[in-house]
Amino acid sequence: MIAGHFGLAAGVKGRQPQVPLWALMLATVWLDIVFAPLLAAGVESFDTVPGTSGGYGNAIIHADYTHSLVGALVLAALFGLVAARPWGRQAGVVLGAVVFSHWLLDLIVHRADLPILPGNAGDLPRLGFGLWKVPAASILVELALVVAGAWLYWRAAVQTAPADTRRPNLLGLLVLGAGVVTLAVDALVA
């Protein structure tokens, strides 16, 4: 899931207009951004699901630090603390919650590959409801998040700038279009 995370962040902007959109967008994929250098360093990795050639939803992700339950909570808390310095406690709480929302959405779609403790310490059961096994359902959930998020964002933007709706309209379409294009690339190309 990629586009769905951005859709959720756009929706949060609609309800928390004082928090910068770019920071919400960064927060919603923060776990994956931290994952990238660990992937390059070989600390975390991913495999394709056996019997498939990869593609949308056919990944088993070994992100045992960034995508463990406790690891995600720590990364969310750190992001929130840093954000609270310039923007205040409320913005910090919102952004920390958006960081952690990534883990909750991943929990829905991932196969059971999300550990509870960093490094899968204690070899506890891994979590994941596996909606990716039904790609059409997963894509629909992502699309719903993108559409709902873009709508909430657009509605708040119109309320903020009611005199000139061209700018909210342009940005609402940009958020919707960016979500649809990202989802299409994820589902068809990646």
Partner: protein, 31 residues
């Protein structure tokens, strides 16, 4: 690829345009 595209479109393009085009309220730092 989709991840990089998403970051580019949402964080960079939408984030910058949003901040420049919409007069959102600024975050208020509690005292």
């Amino acid at each position: 690829m989709a991840f990089l595209l998403g970051v580019l479109l949402f964080v960079v393009v939408a984030g910058i345009l949003d901040a420049r085009l919409i007069p959102w309220p600024r975050p208020r730092k509690e005292r």
